[in-house]
Point group: C2
Chain length 186, copies 2
DNA sequence: ACTCCTTCTCTAGCGGCGCTAGGTTCTAGC
DNA sequence: GCTAGAACCTAGCGCCGCTAGAGAAGGAGT
């Protein structure tokens, strides 16, 4: 008899362990500090074990972490909008978005800045991405061809990165959100 | 007698050679392909020579390339605005910005996405950065506390990255620019 | 109980990275 | 021609992502 659970269960557990460790490590010291050796150490095994779970190596691990991030971001935005309309909805979704990016900078980095980007659109990422996009669209109310939604996403994405890079006055964020809500509410 | 010019001249020339090679290499194959060995090969010397010119290593080289990029971007924006006001000015500056980012993706990456960011503000970067920021502000006309300018910069920055990542419909860029001009003019 | 076979895990190593200590060659000034 | 210093290279460090192949562990059949 095995120590605990079925083979598949143990595999799934360890897979999650790897993802958790990678995410924690990234948030603590940045993605460059997430090396295959350190990651293997963290889960109590050696490097090759990682490749058993993620044949694509570090890239696949980051991609998987990013995927979870998209789901979380979409959920946060949906929760923020609930029951709001007009400028309030826009301000709420903007606040939620920027908060998410600021609170989980490395997660956000994995989602948008790393070489995961290329050809992301075909698989299950589509669902989470679309879901987040829709949340933004919902905040705007009507947006026939999605152009305004694209613009709003652009502004939020850019702002989160520029804030993080120290290129925007942090204390002005409320002003920026107000400005955004004023200019984007239908 | 030396082969050509003074010592200082030869140093300056080679310094520029390194920067040119790094930039060309980055645009051709991305920054990860710009390694100290390949870079040294490209200028016909060995690695340690690079460190004579740029004690900070690869980071300092990228930072220097990025600095030139800021100057170019600011110039492109200023040229685009010339003689325009209102929505036309905003559209023109947006077009110039997005064009720059799309035409020199790796240069743009060095300017905004790489770990150069941290504490950039104290030295000569300030000038070029401020100059670009001012060009955006000029396109907007009046912007008392700079909030609208921050917002415009955010939108352009985010849009350029999302376009590059394939997350925005490329054929819709004119729509996005029009939307931007409409929402941001005065 | 013993063998066999699969499944799991580790050891060891490859090529490449950024970077640097220390020796060698060249050059300029006397 | 000699010498001091600048210029440059060789060789190597510790790290990276990744993998081939050896060996241990554990269940199935006899």
């Amino acid at each position: 008899m095995a120590k605990a659970g079925t083979r598949a269960q143990r595999m799934a557990e360890r897979r999650q362990q790897i993802l958790d460790a990678a995410r924690a490590m990234a948030e603590a010291d940045g993605w460059t500090a997430v090396t295959s050796r350190r990651l293997a150490d963290a889960i109590g095994y050696t490097q090759p074990v990682l490749y058993g779970h993620f044949p694509g190596g570090k890239t696949e691990i980051m991609r998987t972490v990013a995927l979870a991030g998209f789901a979380e971001l979409a959920a946060a935005m949906q929760a923020a909008i609930r029951g709001k309309t007009g400028p309030q909805a826009v301000a709420a979704v903007a606040d939620a978005y920027l908060d998410f990016a600021a609170t989980h900078p490395s997660l956000y980095e994995a989602m948008f800045q790393l070489p995961i980007d290329a050809r992301f659109a075909q698989d299950d990422a589509e669902t989470e991405l679309r879901s987040g996009f829709n949340a933004l669209g919902a905040a705007l109310g009507t947006d026939a061809d999605g152009t305004a939604t694209e613009l709003l996403w652009s502004a939020l994405h850019g702002m989160s990165l520029l804030e993080r890079a120290g290129r925007m006055r942090p204390e002005h964020r409320p002003n920026r959100i107000a400005e955004l809500a004023a200019r984007f509410a239908n």
